[in-house]
């Protein structure tokens, strides 16, 4: 892939300016981001001016949402600025740029700028004119900034930006100034974040190729913005765009290279690109694995502390192991170089305090545990069972459900081998001894049909698999019978049938008679009692 901007080398001074500037942006950005937590979630970024930029325009800063009067004044100023720009279109470039700047300030001084009034006043046509070829860098930059913020609004406002799209894309060319390119990419990213219709338009206009050229830019903020915009462009749900992206020559290697060597912020964006690609194209998963994606990917997962990075990396891994056994084998073998292997890394995620990481890590583990016997053994012996048991007992519902999938998958043999009636007894016994039953019985009681089914199926495994009739005994002890009975009158036929079947088969008339007369009594009454309650359930800490 050709390098960006003529492939000349940046001075160290230039890149560190970018880095320091970027750091400052990030600090301020996170602060403001927290303030906006209540507002509608969007995949967009608003570009905002520095408050200290204009001492005289302190009034603009008052235009926060709560202050009606100030906001009205802001709207008026904006409309005036648009009219002013219109008048200056044919005037001197310097005056025009001044008008653009004024408009830009108005559109970027608050978190929710008065985009609607600007659009109504006809700003987009003017901005398109300002994007004509041959315009000065400053003019292009200001116009693109205005469009960026206009496109950060709701869907209707973003659609209004459509006439400007071809020019924005064309200005991504290799001869454009860096800050112009970045601003155009930003605007395009905002537009792409708003839905498949606009994404389609952008694709037809050639946005993908033009943006991907800048993935290799030596300017960190540019490569990051380009990656972010690309991730918005390919997020689908149609896989068309992702496929087109991966057809670009050198893309696989570029992505892998960034994951290996890029700064964390860049890796975050590239990881999201990978999330979409790995989800939509099995073929490219193979290509990426062959190109060496796994070691750096797993490395990130093992060492990063940043949730924003861990989320897409983990999900990428989850997508990879949701494929066939061979891919999972590759993952496991590559992961061996890490301490604890890939399973150890996933255990780390399970133990994180972030619910998303717990859930998606458990999902990944469940998929590995749905594979070959060898893969199941690797999971079982990889140290992930204790955190899973803990999660099953204590976590929020959807995490518990995923943990249940893991544990259950560990206990059943692959479809191909039907040993022992399809049950891996060693695992099952260990898990029951580890105290997983109460968690499954709780799932039986949950209102979610899928979860209840899982619980019932696991109980069936326990009661069928454990020798000497231990299964029903322990289910009874954990108050499982009442859970089953509750389902007997459930409106869902399937659940009703399943619970009835279990009750009939295991808690029928003969049940309980053995206690008094059966030969296995001593075994049943033996040392089982204490071992049914492992230390952690007696209040001790969990030793992982």
């Amino acid at each position: 892939m050709e390098g960006a901007s003529g492939a000349h080398h940046r001075d160290p001074f230039k890149s560190s300016v970018g880095r320091v500037a970027g750091q400052r942006r990030r600090q301020q950005a996170v602060t403001v981001g927290k303030e906006r937590r209540e507002s509608v979630v969007r995949a967009k970024r608003l570009r905002r001016a520095d408050p200290s930029d204009h001492g005289d325009d302190g009034s603009m800063q008052l235009a926060v949402m709560g202050d009606e009067a100030a906001y009205k004044a802001l709207e008026e100023s904006t409309v005036n600025a648009v009219h002013n720009l219109k008048n200056l279109l044919k005037g001197s470039p310097a005056k025009r740029i001044g008008a653009l700047q004024t408009l830009r300030h108005l559109l970027s001084c608050t978190a929710m700028p008065p985009v609607h009034v600007a659009i109504e006043a006809g700003v987009v046509t003017l901005l398109v004119d300002c994007l004509a070829f041959g315009s000065s860098e400053e003019q292009l930059f200001e116009a693109a900034w205005c469009l960026t913020n206009i496109a950060s609004g709701d869907l209707q406002q973003t659609c209004a930006v459509e006439p400007a799209l071809p020019l924005l894309i064309l200005h991504l060319g290799e001869k454009s100034a860096v800050h112009v390119v970045e601003q155009c990419a930003w605007a395009i990213g905002n537009v792409a974040g708003d839905g498949e219709v606009l994404r389609d338009v952008l694709l037809k206009q050639g946005a993908l190729h033009s943006l991907s050229r800048h993935l290799l830019s030596p300017v960190p903020s540019l490569s990051r913005t380009a990656a972010w915009a690309l991730s918005n462009l390919i997020k689908g749900p149609s896989p068309k765009a992702a496929m087109e992206l991966m057809k670009i020559e050198g893309m696989v290697d570029t992505l892998v290279s960034h994951v290996s060597k890029g700064e964390e912020d860049l890796v975050v964006e590239v990881a999201w690109v990978l999330v979409y690609v790995t989800s939509m194209s099995d073929f490219h998963v193979t290509l990426l694995l062959n190109a060496g994606l796994l070691p750096p990917l797993l490395g990130c997962l093992a060492s990063s502390e940043q949730l924003s990075l861990l989320t897409p990396v983990l999900r990428t891994l989850g997508n990879i192991v949701a494929g066939d056994n061979s891919k999972t084998d590759v993952v496991l073998s590559v992961g061996q170089s890490l301490p604890g292997g890939i399973i150890g890394v996933l255990a780390r995620c399970l133990e994180s305090k972030h619910r998303t990481l717990q859930k998606e890590a458990a999902w990944a583990v469940s998929n590995i545990a749905a594979g070959s016997i060898l893969q199941k053994h690797t999971v079982f012996n990889g140290g992930v069972v204790p955190p899973l048991l803990h999660l099953l007992a204590t976590a929020v519902f959807d995490v518990r459900k995923e943990s249940a999938y893991c544990l259950g998958n560990l206990c059943v043999a692959p479809k191909e081998s039907r040993e022992q009636g399809g049950i891996i007894l060693e695992h099952l016994i260990a898990l029951v001894d580890g105290g997983c039953l109460p968690g499954f019985i709780a799932l039986v009681r949950s209102p979610d049909v899928e979860a209840a089914r899982l619980g019932l199926q696991f109980l069936e495994l326990v009661m069928r698999g454990l020798p000497n009739g231990r299964g029903p005994k322990i289910v009874e002890k954990e108050d499982g019978i009442s859970a089953l009975e509750e389902l007997q009158f459930h409106e869902n036929d399937e659940l009703q049938t399943m619970s009835n079947t279990l009750i009939d088969r295991y808690f029928g008339e003969e049940y309980g008679l053995e206690e008094e007369y059966g030969p296995g009594m001593d075994v049943l009454r033996g040392s089982d009692d204490s071992s049914d309650y492992p230390p952690w359930r007696q209040g001790g800490g969990l030793t992982a």
Partner: protein, 319 residues
């Protein structure tokens, strides 16, 4: 979860089978609600409101760097932009002075667009081929192989296939003033001296007077091929629809035209000696010689091949 109804082997299984646990891989679509929790967190973290780093701040940040910051003005005559440091100079040079049309000084974001502009606007050979019904107008979107007979047809393609708005203009045409139209009608002068392409004003007038209607007998005036009106004033002026299809009136035999063109010595497309890779400073590999008269000098390092052709035109014509 996949469910298989299985009967237990050899047991008196109840009539309704129990769907036993089957371990199966579960894949989720990209927009599955399974991922929404993770997506929400991403959006919250991704709602970055970025600060503008003002020039001043950038300057101060730069000051803190080890390298000395020195102010310099761009040495290209007519530019004189204030720049700070080598990196800035490089970047400025690449963006301002390499994809600029040497005829009308418009700047383009890519080399390809510059070449298209030059061919379509300043190249009589291009117009000759158009007149012979070759599809010369290329689609502007990179990667698309479309070629069209007229600018309008190309625009239609952009609108239909690539969703460009109908109001999009690649070319800019300034409508001729009353006076200029008058002048062109009465003075059908042959193509005057071309040495002053830098001055846009004169450029426009010279083109205008050499508009296609001028016939000067058998001597081919290649300038007739130029059907577009060159823009006057600054390149950033407003937009007008470029309608070269209808403007094209070839009053002379196209064959004569092409013969004349073939008589020109071939000027390679790479007559523009601007290297694509430019670096500055004593540490760098090449040196890019700065010619102060660069922009103005038509005989030196011209950037558009058509410029060279036009220069040749005047020579041919004057003989």
């Amino acid at each position: 979860m996949e469910e298989e109804k299985e009967k237990e082997e050899g047991n008196n299984a109840p009539k309704m089978g129990f769907a036993k646990w089957v371990a199966v891989r579960r894949k989720f679509a990209i927009d599955s609600p399974f991922f929404s929790a993770g997506n929400v967190e991403r959006e919250l973290l991704a709602k970055q409101i970025s600060l503008e780093i003002t020039e001043e701040e950038q300057f101060h940040i730069g000051r803190m760097e080890e390298e000395q910051i020195w102010q310099v003005h761009c040495p290209i005559v007519g530019c004189g932009t204030k720049l700070r440091g080598l990196g800035d100079l490089e970047a400025h040079y690449v963006s301002r002075h390499t994809a600029t049309c040497s005829v009308c000084a418009r700047m383009f974001p890519t080399t390809r667009l510059l070449n298209l502009h030059v061919s379509e606007t300043h190249d009589s050979f291009f117009q000759a081929k158009v007149a012979r019904n070759y599809p010369m107008y290329e689609c502007l979107v990179e990667g698309c192989a479309g070629r069209f007979h007229t600018d309008m047809a190309r625009l239609q393609h952009l609108v239909d296939k690539h969703r460009f708005p109908r109001s999009f203009h690649f070319h800019i045409k300034k409508h001729a003033s009353q006076r200029q139209r008058q002048r062109y009608r009465t003075h059908r002068t042959p193509f005057p001296d071309n040495g002053h392409h830098q001055s846009k004003q004169s450029s426009m007038m010279s083109e205008k007077s050499a508009h296609k209607k001028a016939t000067t007998g058998p001597t081919p005036s290649l300038s007739k091929g130029i059907s577009e009106v060159q823009q006057a004033g600054t390149p950033e002026d407003g937009t007008g629809i470029m309608d070269c299809g209808s403007d094209l009136e070839m009053c002379m035999d196209v064959d004569e035209l092409t013969t004349a063109v073939s008589r020109l010595s071939t000027i390679a497309k790479e007559a523009d000696n601007t290297p694509s890779l430019v670096s500055f400073g004593h540490r760098r590999g090449h040196r890019m010689p700065f010619l102060s008269g660069q922009k103005n000098n038509p005989s030196g390092r011209s950037r558009g091949s058509s410029h060279g052709k036009q220069r040749q035109t005047s020579t041919v014509h004057q003989t």
